[in-house]
């Protein structure tokens, strides 16, 4: 077991000639709340995509809890314990709230097709367990009442929450949040900050988040990495990084 939950070494990818991300070195301690910021197009989401197996890195490696996951498929990575949310909410919009969460829990049920179709005892058992777990999770996020609502009918803030709940349902060690506060008003953002902190404490979770909202970042993150043009600009504790003149320059221009 490693000291760090996530460690990336010279992680990078290039599309044709474009280096979308290069030499990204992250060291995220267990149970940390780590921020990844940078101007638009800096490669933040690309890093997420690398970490979740959407893209295969062209250079470098990354380790989850000491285990090398470089080049593994999305499914494998998910199984090993990285879950994510998306910048644009990607719920299973025609499915009910609880079904969204249950999809996330799929990796915890080992009931095969045959058992499901013929409703063998294991099906009933796992189904019951999963449902109880899913409702537990929904209750934590205040969604239990609406568990039968079709996901796309939820209000925006709750959709965000549901996405986080769904990611947690996969039973991850590391949670990646891609701009969770996008499109939220200050009050909703404040609520969200509470939720994120609660998730970390309640689920003993390590969280890496991308965010533009500086109030959120400075409010809850322990450490930060700033990306610009695919490369790391600065990294370290929040206050230190945010006062770094280079960072200020990158954000505000010359």
């Amino acid at each position: 077991m490693s000291e760090y939950m996530l460690e990336t070494r010279e992680l990078g990818i290039s599309f044709g000639g474009l280096k979308a991300a290069q030499d990204v070195n992250l060291k995220i301690k267990k149970n940390a709340l780590y921020g990844l910021i940078g101007p638009n197009g800096a490669g933040k989401t690309t890093v997420f995509n690398l970490l979740t197996g959407v893209y295969k890195p062209t250079t470098g490696t990354f380790y989850l809890d000491g285990e090398n996951l470089t080049g593994k498929s999305a499914i494998e990575i998910n199984k090993r314990g990285i879950a994510r949310t998306f910048q644009n909410i990607r719920l299973f919009s025609n499915m009910s709230v609880i079904d969204n969460v249950l999809v996330g829990m799929g990796n915890q049920s080992h009931c095969n097709l045959f058992e499901s179709i013929f409703r063998l005892p294991r099906y009933w058992k796992t189904e019951k367990e999963l449902r109880a777990k899913a409702r537990e999770l929904l209750r934590v996020f205040g969604l239990d009442e609406e568990r039968r609502t079709v996901a796309s009918n939820l209000p925006y803030g709750k959709q965000r929450k549901l996405e986080i709940a769904r990611a947690l349902a996969t039973n991850p060690k590391l949670l990646l949040l891609d701009e969770p506060a996008a499109g939220m008003n200050p009050q909703e953002t404040a609520e969200l900050m509470e939720t994120i902190c609660f998730v970390r404490d309640h689920f003993d979770m390590t969280i890496l988040l991308i965010e533009h909202d500086m109030s959120l970042v400075s409010g809850i993150c322990d450490e930060l990495t700033v990306l610009n043009f695919g490369t790391t600009l600065a990294t370290g504790p929040v206050a230190e990084v945010l006062s770094n003149p280079e960072v200020v320059k990158a954000y505000l221009g010359d």
């Binding site: 644009n88 799929g106 097709l113 999963l130 209750r139 009918n153 209000p155 769904r166």
Partner: protein, 395 residues
């Protein structure tokens, strides 16, 4: 942690919606098998029921692909063709060995289904990575290839078609039982972990992958299962009709199955069953009633029925009208009228029948399935935009 406190448990009650599909088929099966087993059923009714049964099997199995998995398939008749020819051929060989027609039917259904599933696997394995309409055209191509190849085989009777032995007038009983099996498998599959994963793929493939759903596996599984049942439908066809005629399995028939699925409602098994029944009934009645010089009117009427049904179900401008005039409100209205008539006392604040209350209940299986088509939203409008938040909650 206070999370240990008990949640209010889900109420344990037998939900009708879980059984309505079986009830529907049983409603056909029971009365008719009583008359049928008494040897007292009209030939035309028996044929009609058989045809309804295999249409049901086809529609439900295609709905797995189109409605639940969200991939358009225009080659379902191709799998049926495989089942009909290979299952029919196998049955011909078996008739010599086994005396019981029922045993032959069941064995050949298995063989036909498995062969169709094998074809489904072979065609699905390389092509399922194709997207949307590209997959649709590949399935169409597959259907055309299959029947052309079968037509040219002398052992399958060449252009005249494969000679098969008819099962007889009671085939529809077996066929309806097969339909029940299909519904059983489809419904149980979709109401399980696997079904949720499949629907997740339909709703958002990227998110599903991120949630650890094995996309290829599930796509292939659905494709193979659907092909299996299409193959069974083909075997039933082969026991119902001789010669097995390659012309039947044309692209037009695939489309006809698709029409049943779309009219019945995507991802709605009850709807598929109802649409299969209604459309087959209309089709057969139009064919047999409009004889002689009137035959040309058949397609005219059928086309008009199709267009009007689709318009009524889907036209955005008719949404308001739809909300007012539908099956539920009709029942509601009847209830109220009955109530008013029986209770004579006029209620002052009686609410007008609105659809709003019903909208909140997200049951997938609804009785007016034929009238409500909850389709995949038109993605062309929101290509890469974020999911539109519900109005008013964003400010």
């Amino acid at each position: 942690m206070n999370a240990q406190q008990k949640l209010p448990a889900e109420k344990k009650k037998i939900k009708l919606k879980h059984y309505i599909n079986y009830l529907l088929i049983l409603a056909l099966l029971i009365p008719f098998s009583i008359t049928g087993l008494a040897g007292n059923i009209k030939g035309s009714t028996s044929l009609l029921l058989t045809q309804i049964a295999y249409s049901m099997i086809l529609a439900v199995s295609l709905n797995l692909v189109v409605g639940f998995l969200g991939e358009l398939s225009l080659g379902h008749a191709g799998f049926m063709c495989v089942g009909a020819y290979l299952g029919g051929y196998f049955a011909n060989q078996m008739h010599a060995v086994i005396g019981s027609k029922l045993v032959v039917l069941i064995l050949s259904a298995l063989v036909g289904g498995l062969m169709a599933a094998l074809f489904g696997l072979l065609i699905g394995l390389p092509t399922l990575r194709l997207k949307g309409d590209y997959l649709a055209i590949v399935t169409l191509a597959f259907g055309e290839i299959v029947r052309t190849v079968f037509m040219n085989q002398e052992i399958f009777g060449g252009a005249l078609g494969l000679d098969t032995q008819k099962y007889g007038k009671t085939l529809y009983i077996a066929a309806l039982v097969f339909a029940i099996v299909t519904v059983f498998v489809a419904q149980n599959l979709m109401r399980s972990k696997h079904g949720r994963a499949i629907q997740a793929i339909r709703d958002n493939e990227i998110a599903a992958r991120a949630m650890g759903v094995n996309i290829t596996y599930y796509k292939l599984a659905v494709f193979v299962i659907a092909a299996f049942f299409a193959g069974i439908a083909g075997v039933i066809y082969a026991h119902n009709t001789t010669p097995v005629d390659y012309g039947f399995f044309s692209f037009n028939y695939s489309i006809e199955i698709l029409v049943m699925v779309v009219l019945g409602g995507m991802g709605n098994i009850t709807g598929s069953l109802l649409a299969a029944t209604v459309l087959t009934f209309i089709n057969v009645k139009l064919t047999t009633q409009l004889s002689g010089d009137l035959a040309a009117l058949k397609f005219l009427l059928y086309a008009l029925i199709l267009i009007l049904m689709v318009m009524w179900n889907n036209a955005p401008k008719l949404a308001g009208l739809r909300a007012k005039v539908n099956f539920r409100n009709l029942v509601l209205w009847i209830k109220q009228t009955v109530f008013r008539l029986t209770h004579k006392t006029p209620e002052g604040g009686e609410e007008p029948p609105t659809n709003a209350a019903w909208d909140k209940i997200p049951t997938k299986i609804e009785m007016d399935a034929v009238l409500s088509t909850d389709l995949k939203p038109d993605r062309s409008f929101e290509a890469d935009k974020p999911q539109a938040p519900t109005k008013g909650d964003k400010q």
